[in-house]
Symmetry: D2
Subunit: 346 residues, 4 copies
C-alpha cells in the first residue's frame, strides 16, 4: 500500500490527483491538504467526491505529513514546495512537486522568470525532471521530482524526436499553444469568468510566459546546444486540453518518411505517446481525461518547414497523470498502473 499525501488538494490539479488515485488498489490518500479549506469536508469542495471521500482538508504541515505517508504531491503555487522541503523531509518521504520550483536548473533563470527568491536551491541539482519518456531511469531512483509544466510537456513531446535527431533547426522553433481554461486554476478572477472566456480566444503572456525557459532548457538537452524559441500560449473556451502547433525549418532535406522514422524511433514503445497515422491531426477531445499525448507532423515542401502538432489533457499528462506516472516508476510499479483511462468522448 502506497500512502499518499497531497498538498494543494483543492486546486484543479489536486482534485485531478484525487480523481486518479481514489479507487486504485494499493494506494491510499492519507492527507488532503488545502490551506484555504482547513477543517472542511473535502467532498463539499469537490462534490464529485461525495460519498467517495470522507476526509476533511488538512493544513500543509510537511513535517507531520512526512511521517505519515510514502509520497507527497505538492500541487501548490510557485515557491511553496521549495519552502517546505529540507534534508530531513526528503530522507523520509518522496516528493513530487507539480509546481515549477525544481524544474529549472539555473536558479538565476528561475528567479528572473518567476520573480521569486528560491528557498531551497540546494535541492535543484538532485531533482529529476519528471518526463518519463526522456528521464525514465532517473525518475525511478529519485526522491524529488520536478513534475513538468503542462505546456512544456506538450511542446517537448511534440518536437522532441526531430530536435534530438537534428532534423530541424531548434532555433527556428515557433510554438503556438492553445490551452483550456482549467490551466488558469480555480482562483476567482474576472478574467476566468465564464462570460469572459466563452466565445473568446486570446494570446497571453506573449514573449514572457514562464514556461518558456523550461521548454528551452529541455530542448537544449535534446539538441546538445542552447535553444531559444518563440512560445505563445492562448486561452481557449474549453475546460481541458492543450494543443501545440509548432513550426520549424528543416536542417536538411528530410523526407516525410525520414521524419516519421524519427518519431517512431522515440515513441514506438511508449504507451502514452501516440504517433498518429499520416494525415491525422491531434485533437484535444481524443485525449480528454487520459494520460495520452497524441502527436503528428506535416512536412510543408513549399516552405521547407515542418508543422508539428501535439495534444494532451493538461490536467492529466500535463499535471496529475504525469505525476502519478512518475510515482508508479518511483515505487517500482508498471508505469501505466491506474492510468489506462480511455479518453472520454464526447
Amino acid at each position: 500500500m502506497i500512502k499518499v499525501g497531497i498538498i494543494g488538494s483543492t486546486g484543479y490539479a489536486g482534485g485531478e490527483l484525487v480523481r486518479l488515485l481514489l479507487q486504485r488498489e494499493n494506494v491510499e490518500i492519507k492527507w488532503y491538504g488545502s490551506r484555504s479549506y482547513i477543517g472542511q469536508d473535502y467532498a463539499s469542495v469537490y462534490a464529485n467526491m461525495f460519498q467517495l471521500v470522507d476526509e476533511n482538508c488538512m493544513d500543509d504541515n510537511m513535517k507531520e505529513l512526512a511521517g505519515l505517508v510514502d509520497v507527497v504531491f505538492t500541487a501548490t503555487p510557485q515557491g511553496l514546495c521549495a519552502s517546505l522541503v529540507d534534508e530531513e523531509i526528503l530522507s523520509k518521504v518522496k516528493v513530487i512537486d507539480l509546481s515549477a520550483d525544481f524544474r529549472i536548473r539555473d536558479v538565476g533563470v528561475y528567479e528572473q522568470w518567476y520573480k521569486l527568491k528560491h528557498a531551497s536551491p540546494q535541492f535543484i541539482g538532485e531533482a529529476v525532471y519528471g518526463l518519463p519518456e526522456v528521464n525514465r531511469e532517473l525518475v525511478k531512483s529519485a526522491r524529488l521530482i520536478a513534475n513538468p509544466g503542462c505546456f512544456p510537456t506538450c511542446s517537448f513531446l511534440t518536437v522532441y524526436p526531430l530536435v534530438k535527431e537534428g532534423l530541424i533547426d531548434p532555433n527556428t522553433l515557433i510554438i503556438d499553444a492553445k490551452s483550456g481554461t482549467s490551466g488558469a486554476g480555480r482562483g476567482a478572477k474576472v478574467d476566468s469568468l465564464y462570460c469572459e472566456v466563452n466565445e473568446n480566444i486570446k494570446a497571453y503572456g506573449v514573449g514572457v510566459h514562464r514556461h518558456t525557459p523550461e521548454i528551452e532548457e529541455q530542448l537544449s538537452y535534446a539538441a546538445g546546444k542552447p535553444v531559444t524559441v518563440s512560445f505563445t500560449p492562448h486561452l481557449v473556451p474549453m475546460n481541458r486540453g492543450i494543443l501545440v502547433t509548432a513550426y520549424a525549418s528543416l536542417t536538411g532535406n528530410a523526407s516525410e518518411e525520414e521524419l516519421r522514422a524519427a518519431y517512431e524511433k522515440y515513441y514506438q514503445k511508449e504507451y502514452f505517446v501516440r504517433l498518429l497515422k499520416p494525415g491525422v491531426v491531434p485533437q484535444t477531445r481524443w485525449v480528454e481525461g487520459s494520460n495520452f499525448a497524441d502527436v503528428n507532423f506535416k512536412l510543408d515542401p513549399r516552405t521547407n518547414r515542418v508543422v508539428m502538432m501535439g495534444a494532451i489533457d493538461n490536467m492529466v499528462k500535463g499535471a496529475a497523470g504525469q505525476a502519478i506516472q512518475n510515482m508508479n516508476l518511483m515505487f517500482g510499479l508498471a508505469e501505466h498502473t491506474g492510468l489506462r483511462q480511455v479518453p472520454m468522448f464526447p
Copy 2:
C-alpha cells in the same frame, strides 16, 4: 471472461460502451457492429481508441454474433433490436437493448408513440426493465433487458421515493428536463450543429416526447395506479448530462424530514444513487463520466409543493453505464464492477 458484442458501436452510446468495457479484466469486446462503417478501422471512427482498439467494424448479423459472444448490446435506432431477436437467439445469448423496443409493456402504446410496427411483441412480456435500483432481482435472471431511456432513468430516480411512499400526488408531477447534446446522437443534422446549439436553449418534443409513456408506466408501478405527467425536455449547450427538475404537490403535510426519510429508505444502500445533503443541488458536472445519479429535493411550504432534482450523465447512468450495471448483475458480478469511475471535474 465475458465475451461481448455491440451492435451500433459507432453511435455515442456505443462508443461509451466501448470506453467503459475496454480495459476491464474478464470482459472482451469481440464484435464492433456498425452498419455505417462496416470494414473500417473502429479507431478511425473514434480516435480516442487509437492503439486501444485494433478491430474493424462489423455488420449487425445477430445470428453469427450470438454464436460468438455471451451478451449483445444493441445501441441502435428504435425497431432494429426487435427485428433481430428471436427465440433461438435469446436461447443462446443475453441481449441488453439500449433502444426503446422492449421498454413499454403495452405494444399499442409503443406503436403509437414510436410510430413503428413492433417486430417481436412476443418478447415484451419477458423483457426486464433494467433499472437495477428497482428491478435488481429480475435483472439477474433476465435474458432480455430493456435498458431504460436517459430521461426516464433520471426522472424516475428523482421522484421515485416520494411517489412510492405516496407522499406526493403523482398526477401533479411536472418534469422539466434538461439534456446535453450527446443525447441527440451523432447523426449529421443542422439542428445539432455547433453553431445552432451553442449559446442556445430550447424545449423540444413538447407534449409528445417518446420518453413520456415510459416514465408514466414506471411511475404507475410505483404509485400502484395510472399516472399521467407533464414531461418537457430541453436541449442544453453541453456535451453530457441530464438535469431533471420535477414539481409535485404533497398529498398531505409531510415535513422536510419525512420526505428525506423516504429518500433514505430507498437510496441509503444504493451505490449509484447519491442523496445529497440538505440544501445541496444536483449538478451535472458532479456526475460527469460516472454512473452516479445525484438527487435531492426542496419542500416549498409557500406552495405546498416539493421540488425534486436529479442529475445523471446521460451517456453513463442514462445509457452505457446502466447497461453494464445490468450486465454485471446478469453475470453474477458485483454491480459496480468496472463502474466506479470518479466523476471528472472540471
Copy 3:
C-alpha cells in the same frame, strides 16, 4: 439631445446600456459611473468600446449627476438606488432603476426577500413598474421607473395573456426558468468561473429566489387576486438568454385556438413581443442581442395543462433594452427607437 448618466456602467447590464445607447442620434452619455473603476479609462474595462468611448469612469455622485443629465440609469446592486434618490433629485432628473429597489409595492415583502432595509420607501408608491407592454401610459409620465427583473420580464410576458383572460389557474403556475451566465454579473466568484459553469447545469435559489415576489405581484394584478407560483431558475452554460417554460392547468376547456386568440389579443400590436407560429418553440438564439421576447404555448390535452414558453436576451429585454424602451417612452420617442437590432445568429 437626451443627456444620459449611468451609475454602474461597468457591470454587464451597464455595459449593455452603453452598447445600445452609444451610437444613437440624439442621445449622449455624459457620465460613466463606476465605483470600482473611478478615474480609469472606460474602454480599458470594456475593450469593445476602444476608440468609441473616451471617457473615464466617475463616482456615483447622484447630486452632481442630476444637474448634468436628463435621465439616470442605475445598474447597481440592490439598495444603492434607494439610498441615492430624494425629492430634489427626482424633481431634476428622471431615474430608471435596473435594480429591484422600487419593483415591490409592499416594502415589507421587499425587505424580507432582499434582507435589506429600504432607504426610500416614500418613493415606492410613485415608481412605475417599467414593463411597457402592460404599463405603457404610466411609463410615459413617470419620473422613477422600476425596471423589471430579467426573470420576471420573461416569466410575465410568457404567461400574461392566459392569466389575464382567466384561461389558466395562476396558482397552478410552475415557472421553470433557464438563464445564461451574464445574469450572475461580473463579480469574481468561483461559482461563475468558466470551468465551473461550462458543461454544467444546475438549479439555484430553489424556493427562495428574489424574483419570486416580483413575478407574483405582477401576476396578481393580471389575475385580479393573489397569486403564488413555484419559480425555479437554472444556470445554463451560455452568455446570454433566458428561456422560461411555464406550466399551468386550464380553468376550463379552452382550445388551442382560444388560447392563441388570447395571446394575439395582447401581443398582436406589440413590436417587441413575437407570438411564434403554432408548433414553433422559442429559442434564446433567435432573440440574442435584441429586445424581442418570443413566446408560444402548447396545449397538452392529456394533462389538461398548457405549456407556455418564452425567450428573451436577459441583457436586452431583461435589462438594458427594456430600460431604454422605457426611456424612449418617457421622452416621447417612438418606443423602438434605437432598439431595432436584428437578433444576431449564430
Copy 4:
C-alpha cells in the same frame, strides 16, 4: 434607395448580410436567393428574422435578378458566382462575390488550390480585391468585387504595415489562425456537430488550406516581391471570431516604437482597424458582431522576432460586413454607413 439581391442568403454569411442590411435606411433587400429553400419563408429558416422579413426564398436566376436590383451579393460555394456572371450582367448590376472565384489573379493557381475549372477567367482581371483599407479607390469604381476571405482579411491586416514597410522578412512569416465554427458553414456534417467541436481544438488543412495563396498574393503586392508563408487554421469551440497570431523575423533592428509607427502610419485614419495600446492583446470577444479588426504586436528581443496579433468577427469584417463596406464605397456612401455596431459583450 439601393436595391439589393443576395444569392446564398441562407448560409451563415448570407444571413449576416440580411442582419446588417435589414434595417438600414436607403437599402432594400429585394431578393433572398437560396437554392436549398426555394419557395420557403425566409424567416422559417432564420427565425431571428421572424416578423422582420416576410419574403420567400428565391432561386439564383442572376439574369432576372440583374434587372431588379443595383447590387448582387453572392455568398455561395466556390465556382457558382463565376458561372453566373457575364458581360451583360456586369453591365447592369454590381456584383460583390463573397466566394473565392475572383480573388486569385492567376487562374492556374486558383484552379490548382480549388480543384475547379474557372468559368469566367475573363473577369478576373477587372475584379477588385475588396479590402478597402488597401484598395479603397479601386473599390469605388469597381463593378465586380472579390470580397476577401475571412482568414486572409485577418492575416493581412495583422501583418500588413510591417511587411509594407519592409520591417519584417515576409518569407519568415508563420501565420497561426484560430477560427470560430461559423466559418465551417451551415452544412450538416459530423465534424461540425456540437459534440464534436465543443471541448476540442484542432488544426485543419495543414499546409493545404485554400486561403494560403490568397494571403500570399496580397502580401506579395505589399512586399513588392513573391512571398511564401506557413498558414495553419484551427477550429475553436465558439461561434464567431478569428484570431491570428503571426510570427516573423525582423529584417533589421527596428524598435518597438518604430514598429508601432508603421502600424500607425497605415491605420491611424482607418475607422475599422483599431491598433490597440501597447501590451493589450486582441481578443475576439471585443470585436464580436462588429466590423472592427483589432491588431497589435509584441517585439521579442530574445528571438529578434515580432509576434503580430489580430482579431475580427469572421462573419462581419471577415465576410458580410466587409462586403457592405465595399458596397458603401461603390455607391458613394460613407464607408461605415450601417456598420457602426458596437461589439457585443458578453
